[in-house]
Symmetry: D2
Subunit: 431 residues, 4 copies
C-alpha cells in the first residue's frame, strides 16, 4: 500500500507515465546515486537527463513544445512522487527546484521571446536557473515587505542593486530571476478589480521580477551557505548585484507586480516540493520495512514488534494523508488558484512535518545503521530538515493559516451566519 | 476556509445539495438542538425528518426509489459534513449510524423482498434498526474470530442464540441485523476465486447475517450501557437472543459469508462516521473562532495571541487533511473497494484522532466556558471520544495498517523489487 | 514501579504517613466512592473525615496545632498522591482545593484572630470555604489586571461590590476569601525593596483580599456553572456581592497587596492540584494494567500487544516525570519561593497535560468499557479535563514561561554573558 | 530560568564546583570549540585537560585519590550539565563517554591492581578507553542474549574471539573492556539470594568482562562507522578480536557476571549522557533566545511572536522536566540501585527525546541560519539524534518500561491489592 498509487484515481495516460517514471528511477537512476552526503555529479546528471528523454519521462511538467511531457498540474503528484523516490531523481528528470518552478512561471507569464530565450533551454536542460529572492537579515526573509534589493530605471534600462542569499542553484545557473523593489506607481493601472483585491490581500506592492543572465556585469556569486542538505548542486550561495544593468525586456511579467506573479510560482512550487519529498519518504519507509521484514528489530523479542508497528502505522498514515492533501490542493490550484494557494500553506506544513517524521521513524527502525552512512537515512533526514523552514517556515505558514481562518469566519458572521461564541448562562442570559 | 467546501471540486448538483443541506441544518435543525448532554427527542426527530423531505435533503445516500437523494458514495462527504455540523443533523436527515450503514448494505446485497420489507421503511424513517455484532468479553470485540453467538438450522428455520452489547440504537429499533456463527461448510461453493481470496485474507469464515424483527420472540433488549456519548437515542444496550427462531429468508446475503458482506458495510460506515464528525469539528472551530474574534483570549495580552494561533492553525490542518483523506478514500472505495477498505483504516484513525484534537483545542480556546455547559464543546468532546474506540480502536487499526504495509512490501520484494534494507559497510561488504 | 513511591528518597516519618494514608484510602475511602459522575455525599464526607482523624492521616498539610499532620511542603507530594488515588480521597482527608490552599494562606498571613476564627474550624473540617477571584468576562480571568470587583472604605468598614464566578465550593462554604480592587495608594509604604520588586514584576497592584462569611448580608450564591467535573460538592457557582459590608479586620494580609499575597497561595495550590491528580493518574494506569494483565487487549493477537506497550510506557514516563517535576518544585518553593512560583507554571502545564494523557490512554486500553460507566475512567477524564484550564490555562502559563525565559536570558547577556545568536558567515563576518 | 541551576537545592560545595565549571567552560573551552562537524583536536583536548586540572574542575566524578573532584553521583547533574554546555566540554573535563562510565565501573569493581593500572591513567587523562559490547547483526545489539564473542580458558589465560562494532573511542583507546560469552557454570556459587534474583531478572548469565590493552596481539581496529555525530574523536569503529590471549587477572569483576556488573555501569552511564546532552540543549535554547531577543522572528509581525513562544515554552518545559527526572534518578541510584537502574530507562527515553526536540525547535527558531553552519545548531541536531538509539533505543526502553509496569502491578495484585480492571455492568454483575 505504501509505495504504489491507487488504480482508477488518475487517467490512464498519467498512470502510464507514472509507471514509466517508476521504472526509469528504479532501473536507471538509483544505481547511479552518489554516496550519502555527496552532491550529484553534473556529468552524470546530464547523462541521466538524456536517458530520461529517450525513455519519455523527461520534464513531466513542461509543455510538450519544449520537450516535456505536458502533464496538467493536477496530475503531477503521482509522477513527481516516483521521481522523488531517488533524491537525485528530480534532477535527472529536470523537475527539481528551482528550475521546475521557474519553468512553470515562465510558461505562464513569460513573453514569447522570453519563453524562447529562457524557457526553451531550461526545459531542455541546457542551462539551469535560480530564483533570487531571500536576503540577509533584515531584508526579505519570511517577510517579503522587507525587500531591500532595488531596481531603478535608467532610460530604457533598469539598474539592480542588492544582496541575496539562500539563492539555491546560483553556482551553476545560466540566469536568475531577481526580485527587486521598484516604484509602486507604475503598476496596477489596468488590473481587474479581483486581481487588485488579491494583490492587496496577499502581497506587498512595488516589486518587480527581472530575468538576469548570470554573466551580466555586476552579478557576483558570493560565499556558499553550507546547509544540512547536500544533494542540490551548488548549494545555496549568496549572490551580489552591484549596479547590474538590464534592458526593459528583462522584466518578467508586469512592473510592480513581482510579488503577485511570484504567488503563481509559490503555490505550485511548494506543492511540488511536497510531492518530491513524499517520494523520498516512501523510499525511507521501504528501507525500514525491508529491514523489519528480514531481521529482528529491537532484539529478538516478538512482543516488542508492536512498538515497531506503531512507528510503521504512523508513517503510513503520514504518507497517505500527505498524498491526499497534495491531491486535493493540486485539484484546487486548477479550479481556484487563490484558494489553492491558501491551501498550499496547509499542505506544505503537513507534508514537510510528516515527511520528516517518516524519515525520522525509519532511522529509529534501523537502529545503529540508521544513524550511520551504511544506510542513506541519516542523510535523507538532513535533506528534508530544511524543508520545514525553506519556502516559509512551519510557524510562518501556521500564522498565515490562523489569520486566514479567523478573518474568513469574521466575514461569514458579518454576512449573516449566526455568531456561535456566546456562552449561555443558566439564568437565561448570555455572557 | 474552514467551514466551506471548495468550488469546482465536486459536480454542480452535489454542490447544490450541499448548499441546500447547509441551509437546512443551520436554519431548521440547529434551532431545535437539545441542551448539551441530552438525547434528541424522537418527536422532534420525526418532524425534522418531514421537513428534510420537504426541503429535498432527506437521506442523501439512499436510492431515489426509496425516497433518498441518490448521491454516489464519492460525493457523500461534503453533504454529510454539512449534516454533521449539528450533532442531531444526521439523525434529522436519516443518515445516521447505524441506519445509514444498514441501508447501504441492504441496498447492495438485500433480496428485492428484503429491500421492500426492510430498506423501504428504513429509508423513509418509519422504522429504525440496529447492527448486533459486538459481544461481551471474550466474544466478538476487536477480534471477530471470537464470535460466540450461534445460529443453527432447524428445518426451514434458523435458531439464534447469543448475547450482544454495544448494540447502538437497539432500544427503539424495528429490526436488527444479527451476526451469528454458522457452519462453515455451507458457504463459498460458487464464489469467484477473487472473492474467495479476499474472504480468506480479510475475514474469518463461517458467520451469517440475519434480519431479525425486534419483536420476534426471544429477542430481549437488556441493560443499557451508559457511555460518554449522549446524542444517539436509546444508547448502546445489551441485547439477548434466546433461541430466536427466524425463517430461511431472514438470511441477509449468503450463508457463511457474513463477515465478508459486513466488509461492504464497514468501509463506507467508517468513512461516513468520519464525514459526520468532521462536520462537528468544523462547528467546534467556528465556536472557537467566534470567541477569538470578539473577546480577548488568555487575558488582554496581544502578544499571547500567537498561542491561540497555534491551536487554530493546527485545527485547520487537521480539518483539511481529514477532508482530503476522506475524499481520497471515498473515490477509492468506488474504484477498488478492497483497496478502499484498507485505506478506510487510515482515514478512520486519522480523522477520529484529528476530530478529537480539534474539539479539544476549541475547549481550550474557550477557557472556563469551554468546560461548562454554557457552550456545547464539553459535550462534543464526550460525543467524539468513543469514536477513537468504536468501529475498531486506533490501536487495532494501526496494527492492521502496519501488518498490511509490511506484507505488501514483502510481496513487492518477492516480485523483484530490490531489497533496500542492507547496510553497506565501509570495507565493501554488506551486513 | 507505577503506584509506589521510592524508598530512601523521603524521611522515614513521611514514608510512614504515606503508607498510613495509602492504607486508609484503599481500605476505607475507595469502598465508599460514589458512582461515576456523582458528587460525594456530605454525610459520607464527614464520616470519612472522622475516620481519617482516628487513623492519623487527616489534613496532612495543616499545622499540628490545628489538628493536621504538620507535613512540610516539600514532603506533601507522596502523601497527596496517595490521597488522590481516590477522587474523593482529598475531600475525605480535608486536603482538597480550595480549602487546602486557603488553609495554607491563612496560616502564612492570617492574624492570630483570623487563624483562630477561620483556620481552626476549616482545618478541623467544621466549615468549608471558597476563593472568590474569577469574574465573568471582561473581568478577572486569565488576566488579573481586569479585576472588576471593588472594595471601598466606609469609616471602619469596607463595602464590597462585584460578581464572581467559577467560585468552587461556594454553595456549601462558611466563608469566602474575596479579591477586590482597592485604591493603590494605601499599600507598600513599608515594604522591603525586594518585596516591592517582586510585587512589581509579578502582580498588578491595588487589590486586597477579604474574609467574608457567606451569611453576610449582600452575599448571594447565584446560578451554578455546570462543568465536566462532578466530584467537588457544590460545583463552581456564580457569587454576587452587592454592597457587602465587612469590618476592617476582615482584610487578609495587607491592603493593596492582594495579588502579591495570592501568589503565596497560587504556587503551592497549583502544585497540590498536580499531586492529587497524579494520584488519580496512577489509579487509571492501575485499572488499565489490570485489564491488560488479565484479558486480551485489542483482540487475541499477541503481536498487537506492542501497541498497548507503547501506551503503557508513555504513561509511566508521564507519571514519573510529573512526580519528578513536582518534587523539584516543592523543594524549590521552600528554598526560593519566587523561583518556585515560576517553576510551578512549568509543573502545572506538564502535569495537567500528562495526567490527562495518562487517563486518556487508560480509556483507550480498556476499549468500550473505557468509555462506559462500567469503569470510572470516562468520568476521570471529565474530572481532569478542566485542570488544563483552571488555575491558568496551559497556553497562559506557556506564555508566561516563554516571556520569563526570554527576559532572563536578556538579563544574562546584559550582565556579560556572550551573545550567541549571531550567525557566522563564510567570508569571516557575522550577520 | 533556563540556563542556571536553582539555589538551595544542592550543597554549597557542589554549587561552587558548578560555578567554577561554568566559568571554565564558558571562558576557556567554548573559545576553542572546533567548527561545526569537526572533531576535537587531540592536542587541544590535552591542553584543555591541563587547564581544567589547574582550575580544579577536572574529572568531577572521579575519586580525589585519582585526581578527580570526588563528587557523589547524586550531585553530578548540575556539574555535568555545565560541562555539556559545550559539545567538547565533557572531553575537556574527562567526563565524557565511554571513559567516564569505565572509570565508574573500575572504581566499583576493579581490583586494587586494576584500579592502579587502568583507572589511574584513565582518570588522569593519560590514556583513553573503550567499551566493546555491541556486535554486528545478529550478535549483541539491543538484545544482549545474542552475544557472539567468546572467551575460553586456556590454562591460566583466556582466549577472546569475536567482532565488535560501534566501539566508540576505540581508535585512540589504550585499552578496552570487552564483553564475551563464558561458560555459565563458573559463576554465582557464592552470590547472595538477592543478587541472584536480580541477575536472573535483569540479565542473561554467562558473560564476562575483560580488560584488554589495545596493543595485545590479535586486537585489530577495523573500518570506522561514519555516523551523524562527529565530536567524539575516533568515531565508532569495528574492532576485531582474533584469538586475543589475556591472563586471568584481566577479568573485570567475576567470571560469568559480566552483564550484572555492566548494569552498574549502564544506569549511571545512561544518566550522565542525559546530563551532558541536557547542557547542550540549554546552549541551543540560549542561541535561540538570543536570536529572538534581538531580531524579528518570522518576519516583523508582532502577532506572530506567540508561535515562537510556543516553541520556547515547550523547550523550557522539556529542559526542566529532564533536569527533574535526572535529579530524581540520581538520588534513587544511590538509595536503591536496582530501582534506580529501572528508572534510568524512563530518564533516558524522556531526556533523549526532549533534548532532541529542544534543539530541533532552536533550529526552527533560527530559520535559514539554523540549518546552515553559520550557527552550530544543525550539527547539534546531528550529535544528539543517535542518542535516541545508542544505549538502548527509545522503543527498546519503552518495551522494558511497559513490561516492568505490567509485572509490578501483577505482583501487587497477587500480594492482595484489589483488582481494578473489572467493569461493573448495570444489572449488578461484572464482566
Amino acid at each position: 500500500m505504501n509505495s504504489t498509487q491507487y488504480p482508477g484515481v488518475y487517467p490512464e495516460q498519467v498512470e502510464e507515465l507514472r509507471l514509466r517514471t517508476r521504472e526509469f528511477i528504479r532501473g536507471t537512476v538509483i544505481p547511479l546515486e552518489p554516496r550519502p552526503g555527496q552532491a550529484l555529479n553534473l556529468t552524470v546528471r546530464r547523462e541521466l537527463g538524456e536517458a530520461a528523454k529517450a525513455a519519455g519521462v523527461y520534464a513531466p511538467h513542461a509543455p510538450r513544445e519544449f520537450g516535456g511531457q505536458g502533464l496538467a498540474l493536477e496530475h503531477w503528484s503521482p509522477v513527481f512522487q516516483e521521481a522523488g523516490y531517488s533524491p537525485i531523481g528530480p534532477a535527472a528528470l529536470n523537475c527539481m527546484a528551482p528550475d521546475e518552478g521557474n519553468m512553470h512561471m515562465l510558461n505562464l507569464i513569460g513573453t514569447p521571446e522570453q519563453r524562447r530565450r529562457y524557457l526553451e533551454p531550461l526545459a531542455a536542460g541546457r542551462v539551469s536557473s535560480c530564483f533570487a529572492m531571500t536576503e540577509p537579515h533584515p531584508g526579505a526573509g519570511s517577510d517579503p515587505d522587507a525587500l531591500a534589493t532595488t531596481a531603478v530605471r535608467d532610460g530604457h534600462h533598469w539598474v539592480i542593486t542588492g544582496h541575496k542569499r539562500f539563492t539555491s542553484g546560483a553556482t551553476f545557473a545560466g540566469f536568475a530571476i531577481v526580485m527587486a523593489r521598484t516604484p509602486e506607481t507604475e503598476a496596477g493601472e489596468s488590473l481587474t478589480p479581483e486581481t487588485k483585491a488579491h494583490a492587496a490581500e496577499a502581497s506587498p506592492a512595488g516589486a518587480t521580477m527581472f530575468l538576469v543572465p548570470m554573466d551580466t556585469p555586476g552579478v557576483r556569486v558570493g560565499a556558499p551557505i553550507h546547509t544540512m542538505d547536500k544533494y542540490l548542486p551548488g548549494g545555496h550561495p549568496h549572490v551580489h548585484f552591484d549596479g547590474v544593468r538590464v534592458p526593459e525586456n528583462a522584466v518578467l511579467g508586469r512592473v510592480g507586480l513581482g510579488f503577485q506573479h511570484a504567488q503563481l510560482r509559490l503555490g505550485p512550487a511548494r506543492l511540488t516540493h511536497c510531492m518530491r519529498w513524499l517520494g523520498l519518504a516512501r523510499r525511507a519507509l521501504d528501507i525500514a520495512l525491508d529491514r523489519g521484514n528480514t531481521r529482528e528489530i529491537f532484539g529478538a523479542h516478538i512482543s516488542q514488534l508492536g512498538l515497531a508497528q506503531e512507528l510503521i502505522a504512523a508513517s503510513v498514515i503520514d504518507i497517505e494523508t500527505s498524498d491526499a492533501i497534495i491531491g486535493k490542493c493540486a485539484l484546487l490550484l486548477g479550479a481556484d488558484p487563490r484558494a489553492g494557494a491558501a491551501l498550499s500553506s496547509v499542505a506544505k506544513v503537513h507534508c514537510s512535518e510528516a515527511v520528516y517524521r517518516v524519515i525520522d521513524r525509519a532511522v529509529q527502525l534501523c537502529g545503529g545503521d540508521g544513524v550511520s552512512d551504511g544506510l542513506p537515512l541519516a542523510q535523507y533526514l538532513n535533506e528534508v530538515r530544511p524543508f520545514r523552514i525553506y519556502d516559509g517556515a512551519t510557524e510562518t505558514h501556521k500564522w498565515a493559516i490562523a489569520r486566514r481562518a479567523s478573518s474568513a469566519r469574521r466575514r461569514e458572521v458579518a454576512a449573516g451566519e449566526p455568531f456561535r461564541g456566546a456562552a449561555r448562562i443558566n439564568d437565561g442570559g448570555q455572557e
